[in-house]
């Protein structure tokens, strides 16, 4: 079991507790800290509470996948972290500092529109540096910055496409360039919003391996949002699942974190072969049961403990005990 789950000084707890009894956060222990964050939208149809109290942290160098079914609020949470929206309550900290509007501390790789269509690949990659420079500085440092961008292009195997426009690239090439563009500015954390969601399965797998290698080499802090469990389990050592589904009470309501665990093990290699490992499938089923498929758990009595870890079974037992 992950220390993150246990360091409250209590043994494993119910999934309810994950949301409400998250251990106190030590300053600077986590790079990104989400503290008691709530988000409510008000509209003509009344108030829509997306989530009431979200707590987690992401440490430096971690690759964390944030998963959840559609409507669970993972994109909302990402927008809050990115600074596109303000939380209704709570704090979002990066390196101990409160987060505000989007800035260079957070890189983003979205699913679509990852690259600027009017710039070539090399211009896209170098854009971050270019925006830093005045015209004179740019001319002075052009060669050095271009060489640096070329290195990034080489790393992404895009050197041959450096002078092409995004529309001339395949989906996978575009996303590789978008990842490198975000990395070039060396942000404290890279936020990825289903970056491979629009790719075909083959390209998607290659991109997953590409990202994993990149992360192994550079150890950037990455928060990877996806609704694809297989992708999440393959990529991320740690998975946080957000879900509006409460399997204990069999109700759907406000989203909360129902799963936060380090699943990475030695079995996961930098190869898609690891997807054949039974533990890989088991982990996916476990998260799916808890976060994704309310219908399968309509009867708590039907719950199959096989998929539950110590962390989750506590909650299941509580529910059973309570009737």
């Amino acid at each position: 079991m992950d220390d993150r789950v246990r360091d409250s000084g209590r043994p494993a707890h119910s999934s309810n507790m994950v949301a409400h009894n998250t251990p106190p956060l030590n300053e600077h222990e986590g790079l990104l800290e989400i503290r008691d964050v709530a988000k409510t939208y008000s509209g003509s149809g009344g108030e829509k509470v997306v989530f009431e109290s979200i707590n987690f942290r992401v440490s430096r160098g971690e690759l964390v996948a944030l998963v959840g079914p559609s409507g669970s609020g993972k994109s909302t949470l990402l927008r809050l972290i990115l600074g596109q929206e303000r939380p209704s309550r709570g704090e979002l900290l990066l390196d101990g500092e409160s987060l505000g509007y989007p800035d260079i501390r957070r890189g983003i790789v979205p699913q679509h529109y990852g690259l600027f269509p009017h710039l070539t690949v090399i211009e896209n990659i170098i854009l971050g540096d270019r925006l830093d420079c005045g015209w004179l500085d740019w001319r002075k440092n052009y060669r050095r910055l271009r060489e640096r961008a070329d290195e990034f292009l080489e790393a992404a195997d895009l050197a041959a496409h450096r002078d092409r426009y995004p529309y001339q690239l395949s989906g996978g090439e575009q996303q590789r360039a978008a990842v490198m563009q975000a990395l070039l500015k060396d942000p404290a954390i890279v936020l990825m919003d289903e970056p491979f969601g629009a790719l075909d399965p083959g390209t998607r797998e290659r991109m997953q391996v590409f990202l994993l290698k990149l992360w192994e080499e550079r150890k950037k802090t990455i928060l990877f949002v996806t609704h694809d469990l297989e992708e999440a389990v393959f990529l991320a050592p740690r998975i946080i699942a957000l879900s509006p589904y409460n399997w204990q009470t069999n109700t759907i309501g406000t989203s909360r974190i129902v799963y936060d665990k380090t699943v990475r093990d030695r079995w996961r290699a930098l190869s898609t072969e690891s997807k054949k490992d039974p533990r890989f499938t088991e982990t996916i089923e476990q998260i799916r049961d808890i976060a994704f498929e309310p219908d399968r758990k309509r009867q708590v009595g039907d719950f199959d403990d096989r998929h539950l870890s110590e962390f989750d079974t506590a909650g299941a037992e509580e529910t059973r005990g309570g009737g």
Binding site: D103, I104, P110, F116, L119, L127, L131, Q181
Partner: protein, 274 residues
Amino acid sequence: MFKRKQYLFGIHADPPTLIAWCYRIAPFVAIIVLYHFISSAYLAENPDGKVFPSFAMMGERMWEMAFMRDIRAGSFPLWADTMASLRRLGAGILLAALAGLFLGLNMALFPGMRLIALPFVTSLSIIPALALLPILLIVFGFGDLAKVVLIFLGLTFYIARDIYSTTLEIPKELLVKAQTLGASEVALAYRIVLPLTMPRLIEAVRQSLGPAWLFLIASEGIASTEGLGYRIFLQRRYLDMATIIPYVAWITSLAFLFDRCLAYMSKQMYPWKR
């Protein structure tokens, strides 16, 4: 199974290049031939008639306008008129494009600017610009300024609204991405969004060419001493269709040339905009 190849009708029509060009030219040829017959018939009835001059009469008149110096003005009327009109048109369109771009882009990006300017721009864009012409003539006199201002007022708000909606359509992801790459608000507006809207600006200017010519010809017709519009309205008094028709054709050719130049420019400068 494919049906017989369609050359003209049907949604799968795909004529060979030569035939396609014939199709393009056909309406022009038809109008010329039709006019020729009407003119011939008319002149056979009225040998001194002025309403439907022959092509030869029009050619002769245009030769005089283009290559015979006007004694009073000391210039070649066709070229002097063309230069005067293009000067006014160019200034009006250029100023309108710049102002429309600035207004539209900033209204879309900055909520404060939107609050101040959008209702104002929307209201002004509804006013028929030609209705302002008498006011402009009174305020700015009979010189170039009134005509340039008319074109400016007639186009600016249309272009501003066009750029405004184009800027709003830029995916939010790109704007956020630019900010995460270090773009300040000014850099975001003028180094990221501006280049993205430029192809649309050219398109908006292309679509404004028709109204721009309309404003120009109307204002020149009412108060001017030179210009293509002035000449057309002047010759109207003498029923000089041999001048008016070629002048209209000349204006059409200039407008067509402008349009093609802008389209070519857009294609060359913004190859990413497919």
